[in-house]
Symmetry: C2
Subunit: 571 residues, 2 copies
């Protein structure tokens, strides 16, 4: 246990087991805790205590004394002392355990989830949850005490967003009417700016029904922030200060300002909008180069992507790279070939031995032009896969103790719809303001408008997204009606709010679970959440979600519509 002042206040113990030191020798102490290991017991009256199983809960009163000479353990902070028990009270007997509670005992994920209350006794999970509490407290201190932010709770029973396919529904007792669990407090935080709250934050519970994603958490937490009279640089500086203030000492220091990169640069050099900048290996498209080379006319197909390594000579095809490339080819419907440049200047490639031709400067502009959203993600994915392969081979590519923060800025405001490429949809959400330099284009060439959206990236993971918002009612109406072709009446309360003295405002939301999982080095956000859901969104401890009787559904005026197959098995 950690060493807060007052962590024994109001308790029947006098100290925690972990805080006793040689300075306590001679003191009579009362300790409470769990039996971890059985050692010999020397006092006759405590004999019965020998039979109490491990993980039982006991209260021990006794005197702190020095360990006998030779029995000290200098690797433990408590290793110089022991407590000579005078009385022992068994507060609760541990009857049985599904697994041993020792850090070295490996458990399956599902067993951990089913007995989460035991899994949480592990030192790693204790560290994760206690660190989470500590860091959140430091964030609150920074926002609330240092910078005048107001912590405001916003509702989670709200109105359905039209087409909000990812929003959980909550039936009400009014027939046919449903609340919805919002994906974020976006509307409320903007309304709070109209309300003159000036600086809002909330550690906000958010909900997302993503049945398609395997590692989903139906509820998650974001650090939600909004400010009036601020620009993008102001929000970024606030967040840099926040990260620095909350950063745990044991994880090194964070230097600010964070580097920044445009969306275009990120896509061009890393093939992704959340680059892992802990290593280089930038991707480049040499399409022009190849398609003008007579000797490589086979490459002229405009959809072909080429993986082009010129330093990592030891990355061979048998490493699984080829399989990965094949699977990427299928995913992205792209043809892929690998060209490996050897140290002697020759190329290794399925196309045979070729002479090395450095990319001429005159092609640099063409490379940029040739940037294609269909090729870049593929290259970006292969870059990460190659990094993993190299690390498996023992190449120290990414420092596991390094934390590389990065701003990605100047995202497009709109993107073509996947199903209807002639129509536009918001790249992020419809409340994002256009980039000041592109403001006029909004009305003429909306597809070319950059936004004031920006992402915060840490080690290749998006951990936050922010933007300056539209504060002008007519601009917001134009975006909703003319660009997005949406029914703006469904957001009439927001439009009315913007028309009644909305200040310029902007904000950001940080994904708390993801941020913490990166800080503690966890492979899943489940390791920084006390009671997470399983891959399939189930609570394996209680069995939620569970069946509910017809009677219990009646007040909500709903009926289960069993799918045909299931209905069959029910009968």
């Amino acid at each position: 246990m950690c060493c807060f002042v007052g962590h024994n206040s109001f308790s029947v113990r006098s100290h925690t087991c972990g805080e006793l030191r040689s300075t306590h020798v001679g003191e009579v102490v009362t300790l409470c805790g769990w039996i971890q290991y059985q050692r010999y017991i020397e006092i006759a009256k405590l004999k019965e205590f020998c039979d109490v199983p491990v993980e039982s809960v006991v209260k021990v009163m006794g005197k702190v004394r020095r360990r006998p000479a030779g029995q000290e353990n200098m690797n433990m902070p408590t290793g110089e002392i022991e407590v000579c028990a005078e009385t022992v009270e068994v507060l609760n007997v541990c009857q049985k355990l599904p697994f041993e509670i020792k850090d070295f005992v490996k458990k399956t994920e599902s067993l951990r989830m089913q007995y989460r209350y035991l899994d949480l006794r592990s030192s790693q999970m204790q560290y994760n949850l206690r660190l989470r509490s500590r860091l959140v407290m430091k964030m609150r201190d920074y926002l609330c005490n240092k910078h005048g932010f107001v912590d405001v709770e916003t509702p989670t029973l709200f109105k359905r967003t039209p087409g909000g396919a990812k929003e959980f529904l909550v039936p009400s007792r009014d027939p046919g009417r449903f609340y919805s669990l919002p994906q974020s407090p976006q509307q409320f935080k903007q309304l709070l700016m109209v309300a003159g709250i000036d600086r809002y934050f909330q550690i906000a519970r958010c909900y997302r029904d993503e049945s398609s994603k395997p590692d989903r958490q139906p509820e998650f937490t974001q650090v939600d922030i909004e400010m009036s009279f601020v620009d993008q640089a102001g929000i970024q500086a606030l967040i840099e200060g926040l990260v620095q203030h909350m950063w745990p000492d044991e994880k090194g220091s964070v230097s600010t300002p964070f580097p920044s990169m445009t969306y275009e640069e990120a896509m061009r050099d890393f093939g992704v909008d959340k680059p892992d900048t802990r290593f280089g290996m930038k991707v480049s498209v040499c399409q022009t180069f190849f398609s003008t080379s007579h000797r490589l006319s086979v490459w002229r197909k405009p959809t072909a992507a080429v993986i082009y390594f010129h330093t990592q000579k030891f990355l061979l095809l048998e490493d699984g790279l080829f399989d990965c490339i094949l699977s990427c080819s299928v995913d992205f419907q792209q043809e892929v070939s690998v060209v490996v440049v050897k140290t002697d200047g020759t190329w290794k490639s399925p196309l045979g031995k070729m002479e090395f031709l450095p990319l001429a400067d005159e092609y640099a502009a063409d490379v940029h032009k040739a940037l294609s959203f269909r090729q870049r993600p593929l290259l970006g994915k292969l870059r990460l896969y190659c990094a993993e392969l190299l690390e498996e081979k023992g190449v120290a590519l990414r420092d596991p103790t390094a934390f590389h923060f990065l701003w990605v800025v100047d995202f497009p405001l709109f993107l073509p719809k996947k199903e209807e490429p002639g129509e536009l949809e918001s790249a992020h959400h419809p409340f994002t303001a256009p980039h000041p330099e592109d403001a006029d284009r909004l009305f003429s060439e909306p597809h070319k408008v950059r936004s004031q959206h920006f992402d915060l990236v840490l080690n290749g993971c998006e951990i936050g997204g922010g933007s300056v918002r539209i504060h002008n009612a007519s601009v917001q109406k134009f975006v909703l009606e003319k660009v997005l072709k949406e029914d703006s009446s469904l957001l009439s309360h927001l439009l009315e709010a913007l028309a009644s003295g909305a200040p310029p405002h902007g904000g950001i939301a940080l994904g708390l679970d993801r941020l913490l999982s990166i800080i503690v080095g966890a492979s899943s956000i489940r390791d920084v959440i006390a009671f997470p859901k399983s891959f399939r969104g189930h609570d394996l401890m209680s069995g939620a979600p569970s069946f509910v009787s017809k009677e219990e559904l009646r007040p909500y005026h709903i009926d289960v519509k069993w799918p045909a197959a299931v209905e069959g098995t029910e009968q």
Copy 2:
């Protein structure tokens, strides 16, 4: 705006309008804000600014100067200075307002709710929300920094409690399976103690579907606390310290320890389990006295309640008391008569003039015996009603600036079921531990067992409830199966947890909304919630809950079952 250090950081303003003082004279400042009043504008280049409507948002750059002699306003902290504007930029024009945003303009509740973002601009609502943020921060500081509590977020998508009629349902994509929004994190907080978290707290969002209550909020917030190795006195001392630490200076001071009263005393003297102890006027039942008096044989009916005042001679029947008594009589199915003792010792009563007979000491024990749960609540209700009447008459009964905290302890563990008086149900929840003095009775006379539950009462409102919990699996199983006749398999995860080394533990939950509403003197908790629901559970701003299409329900395998009448109107 308040005066935090750093509340202008990262902003385009240099100062807030409210913080400028004569010490700033000569400084060039940039201010942002809303136009409150139009005054003359002396500089030609700012003329156009005259036409901008109030509540528009502007940015003003200019120099702070002393107000001309005679124009100072010493009632305002900023009253010595003014800012001579050099540039004015209109950031957003306020197009129209549904009502004037001035504190003196009275709005209807529904208008306030529909335009909540404007209602929140009032100084009272700004105060309420900012105070809420400040007090919650101080609570966190006390719990987290001073006493080693760990802030743990628990899930809100959980398993349906069997018979949990007040739990909202959330349909999942698994046919027939539902999550439930829990009424409190009760199970999780106990599991966290089993998990060795030792000291847990959470400012927890809770949900309760109480269609029957008029002033309900379907979601509300509680300060949720649980500790291991603690007894009732420890939890109470923790909370007393918490209240003292968070208490706002401007509301006086709170002295501790809080007075304490047993449930039996509260019911006997105040007719309610949450007595308003800001005034006396204790109720007493003189049934024995009356039923043994020959002259008052009419009172012999054992169900009759008598209102018996002996000081408030000016409280007359025409004050509406009689109406209230009549309505209470109906509510409680009790006969009621009023006996008013005059200063000359005579009685005023519908029964005619009677001689004053002081209650003999020998009857005191009988009075106690005669305590009846059917009479006490009626008397308690009339006591409060009388207090209101007296205050309307100008009697200073309750100090509006007084805050009377009170512990009510020793509640019964079980109560007879209303529908089935032969069966028992938990007075609070089935995890409450029996009173140590009554522990053995649990197995023989459960209806006589007192619990380790305790309530915190402030000015006659229950603002918190806590208890020491059952930590022994077999006791918990006995309570569930033998006393409450429930299917314990539905709580098998909790029983298993108790059997795997659960420490003794207890905790409390404070109703944050209620507590804050009393501190700020609001008549409704809606005044301390940023975006509350209406009386009927609706969001009047967005129209939630709202209708959802059949298509949107399909992924959740549910259908609306329209009530016959509504179905008719649909066709």
